[in-house]
């Protein structure tokens, strides 16, 4: 689960990390008042959306007066911000008005799981800021990496080692920096984060460190033990269809094509998309109905696919293991009763209770095009979407 920068900064503050003073504003008037209240000669207006790369996309702007802050806020709020990390864009419902900080140097600090060694890893660089991904590509040696032992957390010597490696020498700065890293490590485990990122962590002209940006992602599987974090969710930042899918515990991602897919298992779902594309079609979505699909959930998945007007044909590809084919068949029949089935439906069933499942579909009186295997089903779906079947 993602949260906004201003929410992440509130969490940072609770942990004693240095963040700029800031106030959230939902309209121009609030923004102007916030800037007045902060009282600094320069304030920064920051669009609050669940994506990075805002600076490059015009979502982070300086204002030299409260009036200007209000004007910028008015331009941002109510519009969508398109960034390279989210090309479709996300709605801006509020902005963070923040005191302007005198930047001397920008550092990058990231903490996330390194799947290669199954431990969290700190990635730190003295070349932080908006170009960090470019730098990671062209000068990977400028990124310092240090793994964290999950049994004991980051150790002080590791934090100091990173500080020295990125070129800090001043004792006060080294100890400030090390303390920030130690805190992040604790926070990562306390909160079951999957990512904590400060880009940039800034050294000010007054020789202090301050977190100018803050991003935290949480592990969805662990949210059950963090009800306070769950409350921070902003559903306006999630695609409405994906949100509906989430309600039913379905793993759904909307795409641009016209063949709706319903598959069990993430791997098979991706493979189904690959196969459709291999035969010249375009999948409209990724949809994994998961391992414990009930009739209700399968029906919900089906309604979801039919609600997308782009979808010209639907390909159901199920290999039943834990999900038995009769349950899937039941879901399809149930859903077809609820929604008008106005588009071709190609079904490929295999696995546990397959005979029963196939029989149920046949006897349902529904107009279903059976497929003998995955390749056959994908080809038929491609033809059907072109109106050639």
């Amino acid at each position: 689960m993602k949260i906004h920068e201003y929410q992440a900064k509130e969490i940072f503050k609770k942990y004693g990390l240095p963040v700029p003073r800031g106030i959230v504003a939902h309209n121009a008037h609030e923004a102007e008042c916030a800037a007045k209240e902060l009282g600094t000669p320069v304030v920064v207006v920051k669009a609050q959306v669940h994506a990075g790369g805002r600076g490059k996309a015009g979502g982070v702007k300086l204002a030299k007066s409260p009036e200007e802050a209000g004007k910028i806020a008015a331009e941002m709020i109510g519009n969508r911000l398109k960034t390279y990390q989210n090309p479709e864009g996300l709605p801006i419902n509020c902005v963070l008005i923040e005191e302007g900080v005198n930047i001397d140097k920008e550092f990058y600090v990231g903490l996330t799981l390194d799947r290669e060694v199954s431990r969290p890893v700190f990635m730190v660089s003295a070349a932080g800021g908006m170009e960090i991904e470019e730098i990671a590509k062209t000068n990977p040696e400028l990124i310092i990496k240090e793994h964290v032992d999950p049994a004991i957390g980051l150790l002080p010597y590791q934090a100091r080692k990173i500080a020295f490696k990125i070129g800090l020498t001043d004792r006060k700065l080294v100890s400030q920096f090390a303390k920030i890293l130690m805190t992040l490590s604790k926070m990562y485990f306390d909160l079951d984060a999957s990512l904590i990122e400060i880009n940039p962590l800034v050294k000010t002209k007054e020789d202090n460190f301050i977190c100018l940006d803050a991003k935290i992602d949480f592990d969805d599987n662990a949210l059950y033990r963090h009800p306070d974090i769950q409350e921070l969710e902003d559903t306006t930042q999630i695609d409405p269809l994906e949100l509906e899918a989430k309600k039913w515990d379905l793993n759904y991602v909307r795409l641009d094509g016209n063949i709706g897919c319903m598959v069990n298992g993430a791997g098979l779902a991706m493979a189904t998309m690959d196969t459709i594309k291999f035969y010249g079609g375009e999948p409209a979505n990724f949809l994994d109905v998961g391992g414990t699909a009930t009739v209700e959930r399968v029906a919900a998945a089906f309604r979801l696919l039919l609600s997308d007007p782009k979808v010209k044909a639907i390909f159901v590809n199920i290999f039943g293991g834990i999900v038995r084919c009769d349950r899937i068949a039941g879901g399809i029949i149930e859903a077809a009763k609820q929604v008008e089935l106005d588009r071709p439906l190609i079904v490929r069933l295999e696995g546990t209770n397959v005979e029963l499942g196939r029989k149920m579909l046949e006897e349902s009186g529904l107009n279903i095009i059976p497929a003998k295997d995955m390749a056959d089903g994908a080809q038929k779906a491609v033809e059907a979407a072109k109106g050639e079947l």
């Binding site: 799947r115 199954s118 890893v121 990671a136 990122e197 880009n199 991706m270 291999f278």
Partner: protein
């Protein structure tokens, strides 16, 4: 022969009395798996019976007791996500050397801690979020539909459950049997990796060839490719899912920095091709490709 499990494997099922545990334990028993004990804290002393009354299995409060009383040497775990990491460590502590965890949705940090705790203990654990492991016609420790597998000499290792079934079924339909099939699971912190599974198959005299099924994310397939290049003479047929998967809508930069360009389907396929594997474009080709590979090497 086979790897990890065979007809002598004695299984304790943790979470036997739950809904999923009961359902799948019965399927395993029907397949011929020796399930000798169940563990559900608080239900010790109970005798578990399946819904048809065909089987009876004693239930214990702890894995330690179950091992002592029944000699169980492998554990199959169905407990809910919040308690699954604890269950794995309990099994390991009781001396179980093979643990298969089916549970889906375990917090990542829990598995990071499990991995750390079991490092160097010699315990082999598989999963979580996996279909389990099967040595056809001998032992099924998992949730896969048993009838699609056939005894034989091809090893399969896969991250995805349903793709495992897809591959096994295609082989079986062509009369090509399997030595052992390992579903290592789709979680970011798996107990057993592709490389480790490939190594086991490579060292197994009764496995002639290997099917490796991977997907985007992480670098397990690249690591396996490196191992294959150096050590494996047996034919390897590979498929990687996710060529067309769009880049996720992300928030931070860490993901892009850490992967350093690795982890996408194309680079995985390239690494495997370079290691000498037969790489399939779609999963529908796996059976055909294996038949061709076995014929080329005079193994069929």
């Amino acid at each position: 022969m086979s790897v990890l499990v065979n007809k002598n494997t004695k299984v304790v099922v943790q979470g036997l009395t739950g809904k999923e545990g009961s359902f799948h334990a019965k399927q395993c028993l029907d397949y011929g798996t020796q399930i000798v004990a169940g563990v559900t804290p608080g239900k010790g002393g109970l005798i578990w019976k399946d819904d048809e009354g065909k089987y009876e299995v004693p239930v214990f409060n702890t894995v330690e007791e179950a091992v002592k009383e029944t000699g169980a040497d492998a554990s199959l775990i169905f407990v809910p996500p919040a308690f699954a990491a604890d269950a794995i460590m309990e099994a390991a502590d009781a001396g179980i050397k093979l643990i298969v965890c089916i549970t889906e949705g375990i917090p990542v940090n829990d598995m990071v801690k499990v991995k750390r705790t079991l490092e160097g203990t010699g315990v082999r654990y598989i999963g979580p979020n996996c279909p389990g492991i099967i040595t056809p016609e001998e032992c099924k420790m998992g949730i896969m539909p048993g009838h699609i597998f056939k005894k034989g000499r091809v090893g399969i290792v896969s991250r995805s459950g349903t793709l495992t079934y897809e591959a096994a079924y295609q082989l079986t339909m062509r009369g090509i049997g399997q030595s052992t099939v390992i579903g290592i699971g789709g979680d970011p912190v798996p107990g057993t990796t592709h490389r480790e599974a490939v190594e086991m198959f490579n060292n197994d005299p009764d496995t002639d060839a290997i099917v490796l099924i991977g997907e985007i994310g992480g670098t397990m397939e690249e690591e396996a490719a490196e191992y294959i290049k150096e050590n494996v003479e047996k034919p390897v047929v590979a498929y990687i899912a996710g060529v067309t998967a769009p880049p996720g809508r992300r928030m931070g930069h860490a993901g892009a920095i850490i992967s350093g360009g690795k982890g996408d389907a194309k680079s995985k396929m390239e690494a495997l091709r370079e290691a000498g594997a037969y790489v399939c474009n779609t999963p529908a080709e796996i059976g055909e490709m294996m038949e061709k590979a076995l014929k080329e090497r005079g193994l069929l």
